[in-house]
């Protein structure tokens, strides 16, 4: 079995600001362990002679010219925000919980 613990999941949830119940934590730590196990199987197949792959295609040096393109309007930019104020994204207090 993979070594992701319930505490690991709780810590990740805290970092990601996702409020999770005890039963969700139990459930997810089991589920994530299964996923990690599956990934670990792939790692077994890759021998020492196979370098880690970050990019499947051998592309490099893809650049764009330094040219300004139109941005979204602030209304468009903010259209998905749960809350806004003064044309800015409104978010809960950042470090209040510690």
């Amino acid at each position: 079995m993979s070594n992701i613990s319930r505490d690991d999941v709780a810590n990740l949830a805290k970092l990601a600001r996702i409020d999770m119940s005890d039963s969700e934590l139990d459930h997810l730590s089991n589920e994530l362990a299964v996923i990690l196990d599956a990934v670990a199987r792939v790692q077994e197949v890759a021998g020492a002679d196979v370098p880690p792959t970050s990019h499947p295609l051998p592309l490099k040096n893809v650049f764009r010219a330094d040219e300004v393109r139109p941005s979204l309007t602030p209304e468009e930019a903010l259209s998905g925000a749960p809350a806004q104020e003064e044309q800015r994204f409104k978010v809960p207090q950042i470090l209040g919980e510690e």
Partner: protein, 500 residues
């Protein structure tokens, strides 16, 4: 009671580490085409890429890569033949993507150095600052913390985010640890940032405005007892936003660490915020919770592999080094070493150069920027460049002095007026009614009055004792409220008393 700096350095050796972030002056952002202009209305310069909307794909700004390589070359770095971007994962709303695109174990430039010189009582001293890496990343958005008492993070009820800055190309320049600066650590830190800023400005890769945050310095400071090899625990003071503050922050942290160590307490490894008003730091986000960034290679950006031809092309286009430029200016202006160091230290070299370019005599230009203007800047606790007086103003004032339309004393009033925001020199001369009294007959009235008031002094001058004339000249200057040309008064006075 605060510990004295001398007591700190008698017992401890400081070790520095400096991280400088510089916003590149590209037209568009690092991975998208959004504009990078400073000061636009909130969230008017964002798009699906820099907002991290699903399905958007970043593409690297080629100019930003060239600028970064130029910085690396100017800092004597090796340019990596292959480097990748990485995701620095963290959940903090200043990045809407929940990660910052950065570089991790494959920075584009490594192993450089920068030599800096500071002025000491034993003459100029040179220090070599070794550069660990120069890497590319993107700037974060700007947070406003609302509610609470102070507008700071702690105690705020909520925060408001403007993502115009998110995604602006940012280069981080990290030094290796810097031991061996001893008591000069604060000055060396300042000299390093100052030299770096001059280099970046010379390269034209950034507007390097510390007060606007396009150049920011994080200063790591630790102390170890003299003779001890093991490094002490460091603190990291964030976003120090002026050269003067870099020096103050390092000195302040040295004193704070020494106080803790002397009491047998431990220095906590943490991020601290510098306060311009008090010169002190307070604790910020603690490191433990922030450290878990789970870096991994950015799959949406292909690797960067600069060709030798590109590197060669950039190398050829590098401008002359600031140290070379300074030497040239010093020769052209015939400035003694001491004065040159004073100009660099007061950070007025560029201002003097600009003033001279506008036609002012180098010596006069220098004496204004180093004298009255530096004095006023010091009084206000800001840099001369931040005062609302331009090189054009100074050039205009110098020209008026040379034409005899202003005396030095009157010119000081004009400088005061410009800095007080009363307008440009010509406007102030008009509005304050500043005028050189050069009309001989008006001066003669004042001279006769002075002689009548001090007949004994006048007798002495008549008898050939010329130094006594000073008292009479002084009286005339007072009578004319300083608006007379002292040399002219002297000439007329001596003539009148039969001594010329």
């Amino acid at each position: 009671m605060a510990l004295k700096y001398e007591d700190v350095i008698a017992k401890y050796e400081p070790v520095l580490g400096l991280e400088v972030h510089v916003e590149l002056g590209t037209e568009s952002k690092m991975f998208c085409g959004c504009n990078t202009v400073f000061g636009a209305a909130p969230n008017t310069q964002t798009c699906p890429v820099c907002l991290g909307l699903p399905g958007s794909l970043p593409v690297v700004n080629g100019k930003a890569i060239e600028y970064t390589i130029a910085i690396g070359l100017a800092l004597n770095c090796s340019i990596a033949p292959f480097s990748r971007f990485a995701r620095k994962n963290y959940f903090y709303p200043d990045m809407p993507k929940n990660f910052q695109t950065s570089q991790y174990d494959e920075p584009i430039c490594v192993n450089g150095y920068l030599d800096v010189t500071i002025d000491t009582e034993e003459g100029p001293k040179e220090f070599r600052i070794e550069i660990e890496r120069v890497h590319m990343e993107e700037d974060t958005g700007k947070s406003l913390h609302m509610g609470g008492a102070t507008g700071r993070i702690h105690g705020a009820d909520y925060s408001l985010l403007d993502y115009n800055r998110a995604g602006i190309p940012l280069v981080e320049i990290v030094t290796k640890i810097i031991p061996g600066t001893g008591k000069y650590a604060p000055e060396v830190a300042r000299a390093y940032v100052s030299e770096l800023r001059d280099i970046l400005r010379g390269l034209g890769v950034s507007d390097v405005k510390m007060e606007q945050g396009s150049l920011r310095c994080d200063a790591n400071v630790s102390l170890r007892p003299i003779g001890v090899e093991k490094l002490g625990t460091r603190s990291e003071t964030k976003n120090v936003n002026s050269l003067r503050s870099v020096e103050r922050a390092v000195r302040g942290e040295m004193i704070r660490h020494a106080e803790l160590l002397n009491k047998g307490e431990k220095v906590v490894q943490e991020t601290r915020h510098f306060h311009e008003d008090t010169g002190l730091t307070t604790p910020g986000r603690s490191k433990e919770q922030a450290e878990d960034y789970r870096y991994f290679p950015e799959p949406d950006l292909v690797p960067v592999a600069p060709t030798p031809e590109l590197i060669e092309k950039i190398k050829k286009s590098l401008p002359e080094k600031p140290s070379v430029r300074r030497k040239k200016l010093q020769e052209a202006w015939q400035v003694p070493d001491k004065e040159m160091a004073a100009m660099i230290n007061a950070d007025v070299l560029d201002l003097v150069e600009a003033t001279v370019k506008l036609g002012a005599d180098p010596t006069r230009a220098r004496s204004w920027w180093l004298g009255e203007i530096a004095r006023l800047a010091n009084e206000k606790g800001v840099a001369a460049a931040e005062l609302p007086i331009s090189s054009a103003d100074v050039a205009e004032i110098v020209a008026l002095i040379e034409k005899g339309e202003l005396t030095d004393k009157l010119a000081r009033q004009v400088v005061d007026g410009v800095i007080a925001g009363e307008g440009r020199p010509a406007e102030i001369i008009k509005s304050r009614g500043i005028q050189v009294v050069s009309d001989d007959s008006a001066l003669m009235v004042a001279i006769e009055k002075a002689i009548a008031a001090q007949p004994d002094v006048a007798e002495k001058v008549k008898g050939g004792h010329l130094p006594a004339a000073g008292a009479l000249i002084g009286a005339v200057m007072k009578e004319t409220k300083g608006q007379a040309d002292a040399a002219k008064v002297r000439e007329l006075l001596l003539k009148h008393l039969g001594q010329a």
